[in-house]
Symmetry: C2
Subunit: 204 residues, 2 copies
DNA sequence: TGTACATCAGTGAACGCGCGTTCACTGATGTAC
DNA sequence: TGTACATCAGTGAACGCGCGTTCACTGATGTAC
């Protein structure tokens, strides 16, 4: 693959990501549209991807990797915080607002996409969950839980913040009150959830 | 509206629901396809709905109402149970498996649909949450919580079981082991969550 | 460093297809007397 | 209960459009000597 090839491939992926406006699913974006936005003729698309599904998979992979790196950095850098849960969530919220497209792909295609894409997203999310569990374990934040239960708690947490991400993408731009109110609601949900996890005794 | 009209309208909605195979979003279903499945010529569609979006709204409304009635009945009839949470979840799981299409609409379009449809689903889910909170309040299951916090807990619960529903729709048909394992995982999530809620003290 | 050549990326015409929507129509259904 | 008529539901031809994909091509890029 030549330098030119790599640049165009990147341009196609960026163009596709850019087309992920709210309310648009991957299925509703056409090959011709992506090609046009990437500045190439439709037929040239095939030089880089076999089909739109393959592009979707590459995109999921890309988003997944980027998000995992960012979120892990977030967790580790936040470690010493006095209000760990609140601070982590607010940081997460800001990150979603700063990079809406990445989350739009994951949220939007997680339940609606083609089976292939959905499976790929599921795998990415599982990695998410595992990394979160590893970090919590390494920091001994929930020493009472077995690895198995810890994973399950992280599943619940990731589900919750992905729901939050999806909602955040829909917030109207100006409404600071709503933004604060809903953020606090999610913070409370996470508090209750971690409170339950911290008081949990195995084999009850 | 005549009797014939009502029957055809119903046929259109049933046909659309039937087309909600896994991996198909509403956007990827065409007017002609729905009309064909409903046994009418494409142009006759307009006698009943202005557009596909209007059909989607009618469908969401229909699914929402049906599900709310069923789920409320479920909660109330399960009331005396010794293992309230587990029994409720298993009943819910069986109901999802028995009526997959209804959940496919709600799960699939909740994050991916057009803004109009997403808004409609959001409203239906809010009603869900409120009804659940009312029932829990009426049965004094979480007397320690303020109404505001109770609503927030129910939000978390509904999010969790909707994630579960989406996963249940994807379970391979035969795998009883997976089905049991994942069901127990969700039951544990709900236990932890309710445990946290039950031990929660306001104004901490 | 210069050149010849192979490979690779992008082009543009062409195809057949299913789409949403219009229109004037026909036949079925319901109602007023 | 029977009939005349208005309204309503369904028809079928037609339209222009954007779609994915094929193909033979041209020009750009990278490499071997």
């Amino acid at each position: 693959m030549t330098e030119r090839g790599r640049r165009t491939r990147r341009a196609i992926m960026d163009a596709a990501l850019e087309l992920f406006a709210p309310g648009r699913s991957f299925k509703s974006i056409s090959l011709r549209e992506v090609a046009g936005a990437a500045g190439i003729v439709p037929t040239a698309f095939y030089r880089h991807f076999r089909s739109m599904d393959q592009l979707a998979l590459a995109l999921v992979d890309d988003c997944g990797r980027t998000l995992r790196i960012q979120l892990r950095r977030m967790r580790l850098q936040n470690h010493g915080s006095k209000h760990l849960i609140r601070d982590s969530f607010l940081l997460f919220r800001d990150y979603v607002e700063a990079h809406p497209k990445y989350f739009a792909v994951v949220s939007g295609e997680r339940h609606g996409g083609s089976p292939l894409v959905r499976e790929a997203i599921r795998t990415e999310i599982e990695r998410f969950i595992e990394e979160m569990a590893e970090d919590i374990s390494a920091l001994s934040l929930l020493p009472n839980l077995s690895w198995h239960t810890l994973l399950n708690v992280c599943d619940l947490v990731v589900n919750t913040i992905l729901s939050a991400a999806s909602e955040i993408l829909d917030w109207p731009k100006g409404s600071e009150r709503l933004r604060k109110k809903r953020s606090e609601a999610y913070v409370q949900q996470l508090h209750i959830l971690f409170f339950g996890a911290a008081s949990w005794r195995e084999r009850r």
